[in-house]
């Protein structure tokens, strides 16, 4: 399925979840996500993240509502706990496969969502830069150690250098794009023309309608 379509479904459902105070619906979302994850062949590390990441915010709000809340607070505590899990598991459906589907996603943004190519390629640049940041900070530290100076992670000079290199990197990116003929607002051709299959639209509509129907009964 096209990642932009996935993104749309996830966003719409996530938005609705914000207004729905139902533990059952949240659990259904979690259950369906978990079911889909079975097909995505996650690594055990990714599973671990899926369980650990929601724990802190989830139980944080659960505890505070349980012990300090008033009114319908017991119900709300459970809603909050399950909601955090639902959000993250739902979001994971989109993000966990994003590294593989990144190019298609960005191409869809450019070609179908008609976002400006400048924006999309700036985004590409940033995404390419992210993994380099860690390496960059490491290099900066070692470079200063070789010069006899140890920069600790709490020292401003380290970040000053890191920010400087980020600025230089963004200048280089702009210069590089122009030297490759990138022109703001000019038409471009596309090697990979993205088309959104009819089936994708159908799935989108079915899922969203099904979800609305699910909301009709008065769940706990």
């Amino acid at each position: 399925m096209n990642p932009l379509m996935k993104f749309a479904i996830v966003m719409v459902i996530a938005l609705e979840l914000t207004f729905i105070k139902s533990v059952t619906i949240n659990l259904i979302i979690i259950g369906v996500s978990a079911f889909l994850y079975l097909f995505l062949k996650l690594s055990w590390k990714q599973w671990l993240w899926l369980f650990i990441l929601p724990l802190l915010p989830g139980f944080g709000s659960w505890f505070s509502l349980m012990y300090f809340g008033t009114g319908d607070h017991v119900h709300m505590a459970w809603v909050m706990l399950t909601r955090v899990f639902a959000y993250l598991w739902l979001g994971g459906l989109f993000t966990l496969k994003l590294t593989e589907e990144r190019d298609v996603f960005l191409a869809t943004l450019e070609q179908k969502a008609k976002l400006s190519a400048t924006f999309v390629y700036a985004l590409v640049g940033v995404l390419n830069f992210m993994p380099a940041v860690n390496q960059q900070i490491k290099t900066i530290r070692v470079a200063s150690q070789m010069r006899g100076q140890t920069l600790h992670i709490w020292q401003a000079q380290l970040y000053f250098k890191a920010i400087l290199s980020a600025i230089r990197w963004s200048q280089n990116l702009a210069e590089g794009m122009v030297s490759h003929g990138f022109t703001e607002g000019a038409p471009r051709t596309h090697l990979q023309v993205v088309s959104i299959a009819k089936r994708d639209w159908l799935i989108l509509i079915i899922i969203l309608i099904a979800f609305q129907l699910l909301l009709i009964p008065n769940w706990y």
Partner: protein, 473 residues
Amino acid sequence: MSYVVTNLIVEDVHFSYPTGKVLSHVSLKLKPNSFNLLVGPSGSGKSTLLKLLSGLYPTFSGGTLDGKLTLDGYDINDIVPFQRVARLGYLFQNPTRQFVMQTPFEELRFSLENLQVTPTDMTDRIEKVLETVGMTDFTHHDLSTLSGGEKQKIALAAALAMDSEYLLLDEPFANVDPVARLQLIQAIKHYQQQGKTILITDHDWSGYTDMIDDVFVMNHGHLHQADEAERTKILHEVPIQTQIKTALPNEQEHIIELKKVALKNGTRQLLRNTSLAIPKEKRILITGPNGVGKSTLFSTLVKLYPYSGLITYNQQDIAKRKIAQHVRDIALVFQNAEQQFVAMTMAEELIQAQQFSNHPEIWTDETITEILTQLNLVDLRQHVVYQLSGGQQKKLQVLLMLIVGTPTLLFDEPLAGLDNDSQQCLLNIIADFTTRQHQTVLVISHQLQAVTDWFDFHLHFENEQLSYVGGEV
């Protein structure tokens, strides 16, 4: 053959950076379908001129331009990028600077899409041009994991793929090994035969002397075309490939020892089961083709890269040494000079290095000024280090690391992109101070002509093996 002749005119061009004037009264005329060489000492303004021609400057420089710079009657800066690069291709001096995408394929695709090439032609064109530079195997590799020379090949491929009528190349072979160099020269020659005009800056034109039509000389921002006599003289200046004379090391005191060491890059084996020792207070040359793992070996020695086996420094297992302590004993002079800098201006860099020097008695203010004068850097003290020319950065970087005076120094291509005089001067300075400071010196270099007698020993890295060569043959 019929092709459109675009007319590039450069007349009485002046250019200043905020820090000062670098080009005066520059005029240039390139004959259609010619091969032109631009020479001149480091910092004379060659890269600046090329960037102006490519249309990237003054936009990206903060400098001011005066004079006439036109392409078919239009001001170069008024032409939109995709139309401009269709006629004027440009290769940066430092290839890492120009990549936008993650893999060679995407990088080339991005350019071709900008030029609005028909999608059905694209894949073909990309494959062909990667083949010309011998990088087919790397089509989908991550650019950030490629070696310096490999990056240079990809950057050249990107420039060739755009199929522009003029091709501006800023030291395209600086980090390329001698074999690949010949291959790239062939690729460029082939490109010219399709009716293109080429302008190349270089400090070493061996291997393509006979292809050169006109020679232009840049000196302190003044440009002139060499007349027949000067042209002949310059073209004969090519350094002759001499045999490097080194001996094989015999029993002596060792500083570094490798025992059954292996290195890998992802799934690719770089070094297999190697045991050898590096003698103390000697100068050792390391050679080998692009991408064989020379820089990786250096990273390993400073604990920046994983390995298997045992490496000792001064009889201590380096795995057990703290990195901060370790790199005070053995430091890397990076291939990319900018990584070495820790401050903003040259003056600040020098003060920092002096402050942490292991031999402050040697590095007095007078000595530093004297060395800066020899390296032609003395007037640049207030310059921001990132705004120095490629060669100036290299010279400053080496000087800084000499001042720090780390017992073992690993130089990664210290001579790349330097003119002959600068190379000789830098080698003398390195020899002088490393001897006085009792340092061990390891150097990766492709610039062999400059170094005939300079080294004590020679290690060659090829086919996953690293071994000493030399001795009486």
